[in-house]
Amino acid sequence: MRAPLHAAGLAAILGALALVPLLPINDFYLQILFTIGVNYLAAAGLNVLVGFAGQKSLGHAGLFAVGAYAAALANVDFGLPPWLSLVLAAAMGGLFGLVIAAPSVRVSGPSLAMVTIGFGIVVEKIVTEWTDLFKGQAGIYGIAAPSVMGKSFTNLHWVLFVGLLCVLTHLVLRSLLNGRYGRAFMAVQLAEPAAESVGISVVRAKTLAFVISAVTCALAGALVAQQNQYFNSDFITFNLSIFLLVVVIFGGSGSLYGPLFGSVILTLLDAWLARWPALQHFTYGALLLFALYLMPNGIAGALARLAPRSGGPMRPAITASAALSRGQTGTSAGGGPLLAVSGLYKAYGGIIPVKDVSFTISPGKVHALIGPNGAGKTTLINLISGHVPPDRGHILFAGAEIARMPAHRIAASGIARTFQNLKLFGHLSALDNVLIGAHLHVETGLGAALTGLPANRRAEAEAREEALALLSELGLGERAGDAASALPYGLQRRLEIARALATRPRLLLLDEPAAGLNPQETHELGAVIRRIQAAGITILLIEHHMDLVMGISDHVIVLDYGEKIAEGTPETIRRNPKVVAAYLGLEEGA
C-alpha cells in the first residue's frame, strides 16, 4: 500500500480507538473488539511464518498455550506483577518458537504439518494431564490483569491496550517485511536453492519466522488469560491451531493486511452466529470449503485484484558499469588461482557424475566447462556452489577450503551462480529478484529493520539504486516492475544473471545461460559475459553452444562420464582427438 494511504488507514484506526471510550458500547461489543485484536495479533505473526516464509504450521495452539500459562503461572504461582508476566510470556513464546523451529526447519510438506501438529498436541496433553502445575480442566483462577494508576484494567482499557499493541505489531512487521528480511522469507518460500545461492541461510530465515510467530501467538494467549483472569486446558485444542491458520489464509496469507481482514471478519461472523451453534459450524465448514475456491489468495488477494497495479518508471541514478564492479577487490592475494578443485568425487549409488576431477580457475578469465549430456557438468557446479556436498576432494576458493560448506556461506564468500532450470522468484518483480540477490549487501540489522530506523531506509534505497542499475546493464531496465514469471524466457535467463551479480561475486558460475535462446539472444549474451569479465569478475560457464564457448572463453575444460578428459585453450580443445571422440561417439584412434 502506498505511504499516504497507509498513513490515512493508520489514522483512521487510531481515531476509531480514540472514539471507543466516547461511544456507548456495552461489554459484549467490547469483548468482540478485544477478541478481534487478540486474533489479529496471533494471525499477524503466523502470517510471517505461513504467508512469507511458506511454513504451514498446524500447531500454534501450543504457542498460544505457552503464552497463556506463562502469564498465568508467573502471576499466580510466582507472584510477579501482571506487566512483567506479560513480557515474560512473550519471551517464553520466543523461546518455545526456537523449540518448535528446531525440528520444523528440517522437514517440509506433510512432515512439517505432522511435526507442528505433534507439537500442538504434546502441549495440549501436558497442560491437560499435568494437573499439579497446570490445573488441567479445572483451570487457574485469579490471574491478575495489568493496572493503570492503581486501577485494574476494565474491558475498555483492554480494548484500547490491545488496539495499540495491534497497531504497534503492524508497524513493526510492516517495516520488517518490506525490507530485506521480508524478501528473504519470500525467497525461502519460493525457491530454497536460489535463496541459498544468494547467501540467505534458509535455516535461519525459517527459525526467525517461527520465533516471530511464536512471540505474537504467545502474547495473544497471555492477553486472553489476563483479560479472562482465568485459563484452563479446554482453550488449547487442535481446532484453535486450525482457526488461527484459517484467519491467516482466509484473510490472505502473504499480504500484510490479510490477518486484519481475517480476524475482523471471522471474529464478527463467529460472534454473530454464536446464537445458532449448528449454523455456526456449517458456515465455518462452508467458508473453509468454498471461500478459497472463490478467493485463492484470501480476501486481501481478491481486493488486490480490484485495485490497479501501480508501477511508475524506475530510473537508476548510478551508472551500470559502476554497479557491475562493486565488490571487486581485485585478484586474489598472491596471484594464485582463484579456485582450485582437486580430487573432487561424488557418487549417487552406482552413478558417478564427478570422478576425481581436478582443475584450476584463474582470476579475471572466462572458463568454459563442456561435455556431452550427462557428463557431470551441473553436478560439478552444484558441488562448487555447495548445493550438493562432495563425497571427497577439495575446493579451495581464494586459498580457503569451501568443500562441504553450506551453500549460503559459499555465496557469502563470493561465488554466485545461475541455474540451468531457472529458479526465479516467480511472482515477485524483476527488481525484487535482484534485491534478494543483494541480500548480503543491504546492511541492516534485525533491530533496525524492526524499528524502521532511517539507516534502514537509507540502506534499502541504496540497494534499490544498485539493483536498478544492474537491471539496465542487462537490458531489463524497462521491465524492472514486471513479475519475473511474466518475462520472456530470454529475459528470465538474464534476470538470473542479474540476481547472481547482485551478490557482488568474484566468481560467477553460469549453468547453460544460452539454453533456449535464439541466435540473436545468444550473440547478445556473449557481449554481456564479456562486459561482466571486463568488470573484473571471473566466470565459469557451462554451455553447449560451441560458437559462444569458443568465442568468449580463455580456457576450456572438457568432462565426459564424470572425468576430465581435456583442458586448454579453445584452439587446442577443438583439435583434441579425445574431445572429438566424446562428442561424435568415435572409438579412440579411429
Binding site: P110, I117, I249, F282, L292, Y293, N421
Partner: protein, 305 residues
C-alpha cells in the same frame, strides 16, 4: 505378562485400524499430492450408518441401543458393506467439492477445504444422530477369549483379521492389477499417464473412493470397541495420519506398518501410564521425522537443481 499380551492384542487391533486409514492417505497422496485432512469425520457416518441400518432392520428407530442378540454376524457384515459403500460414495463428493479445485495449486488450500468438508459432514451427522453415543455390541459377543491367560476381546481379533485381509487385498491390487498400475502411473506422472490413454480424473476419483471407503470401514470396525458417536473420528484419524507420516506417506506398506507400530506403542505406553500415550507418540514421531524426514519407509525425493 498377561497385561502385556492384552496390550499387544489391543495394540494390534488399534494399529490395524490406523493402518487401514493410513493406507487411504497413501493412495490419494500418491495420485494427487493431497489427502483428506477431514478424514476423521468420515469415520462418523461409517459407524453410525451401519449401526442405524441394523437398528432399522430390527424395527427400531435409527437412533437407540442395540441388544447383543440383534447384532448377528450377517447383520454386521451387511452393515459393514453398506457403510463402506456409502462412505466411499461420499468420497466422490469430497473430490468434486474439496479436492478438484485445488489439485496442482501451490499452498495448502486443499488442507482447509478438506477440513471444511469434514466439518460439514460431521455436523450433518450431528443433526441426524445427535451428540449422544451408541453402545454397539460385537457380533462375536462380549465374552473374552483366554489366550495364555490374557483376556482378548473377540472384536479385536475380528478388527485385526478384517483389516489385515483388506490391506493384503489392496496391496495385491496396487501391485498386480491393471487398476493398480494405472494408480501408480498417475502417481508417477499424470501427464504421461493421460498420454497412454489412462483417464486420470477417473483414477483420482477411484483413489478418493477407496480412501473414503477405508475410513468408513474403519468406523464400523471400531464402533464395538469405542462406541459409535459423532465425536470418535478426530483422534483416530489424527493418529492414522501420524502413522502414515511415520511409515512414509509415499509407501503403502510403510503406511500399514506405521499403523501397527503406532497402535503397539500406544497400547504399551498405556500399560505404563495412560496419560502419557499421546505425548510419547507425538514426541517419537517428531524425533523420527527429524532423523528421517520422509518417514521410516518413505523414499526421499531429491530436488533436481
Amino acid at each position: 505378562m498377561t497385561a502385556f499380551l492384552q496390550a499387544l492384542a489391543s495394540g494390534l487391533a488399534l494399529g490395524a485400524i490406523y493402518g487401514l486409514i493410513a493406507l487411504g492417505f497413501n493412495i490419494t497422496y500418491a495420485t494427487t499430492r493431497t489427502f483428506n485432512f477431514g478424514q476423521g469425520a468420515f469415520l462418523v457416518p461409517g459407524s453410525l450408518v451401519g449401526v442405524s441400518l441394523v437398528l432399522l432392520s430390527v424395527g427400531k428407530p435409527h437412533f437407540g441401543n442395540l441388544a447383543p442378540a440383534e447384532m448377528t454376524m450377517t447383520a454386521y457384515l451387511l452393515a459393514t458393506l453398506a457403510s463402506t459403500l456409502i462412505v466411499g460414495l461420499i468420497g466422490i463428493a469430497l473430490y468434486y467439492c474439496a479436492i478438484k479445485p485445488f489439485v496442482g495449486v501451490a499452498g495448502l488450500n486443499w488442507v482447509l477445504s478438506t477440513i471444511g468438508f469434514g466439518i460439514i459432514l460431521q455436523n450433518t451427522a450431528l443433526a441426524i444422530w445427535g451428540p449422544a453415543s451408541i453402545a454397539v455390541p460385537s457380533p462375536l459377543g462380549s465374552d473374552v477369549y483366554r489366550i495364555a491367560g490374557a483376556g482378548i476381546r473377540p472384536q479385536e481379533i475380528l478388527v485385526a483379521v478384517v483389516a489385515v485381509a483388506v490391506m493384503a487385498g489392496l496391496d495385491y491390487v496396487l501391485r498386480a492389477t491393471k487398476l493398480g498400475k494405472a494408480l501408480r502411473a498417475v502417481a508417477f506422472n499424470p501427464q504421461a499417464a493421460s498420454i497412454v490413454g489412462i483417464n486420470v480424473e477417473k483414477i483420482v476419483i477411484i483413489a478418493f473412493v477407496i480412501s473414503s471407503a477405508l475410513a468408513g470401514l474403519a468406523g464400523i470396525l471400531i464402533a464395538p470397541i469405542t462406541t459409535a458417536s459423532v465425536f470418535i473420528g478426530m483422534g483416530v484419524a489424527l493418529k492414522a495420519f501420524s502413522a502414515a507420516i511415520l511409515g512414509g506417506l509415499t509407501n503403502p506398506r510403510g503406511c500399514m506398518a506405521g499403523g501397527f507400530l503406532l497402535g503397539l506403542i500406544e497400547a504399551l505406553v498405556g500399560l505404563w501410564r495412560a496419560e502419557m500415550r499421546e505425548i510419547t507418540i507425538f514426541l517419537i514421531i517428531i524425533v523420527v521425522l527429524v532423523v528421517r524426514p520422509a518417514g521410516l519407509f518413505g523414499t526421499k525425493t531429491v530436488e533436481k537443481i
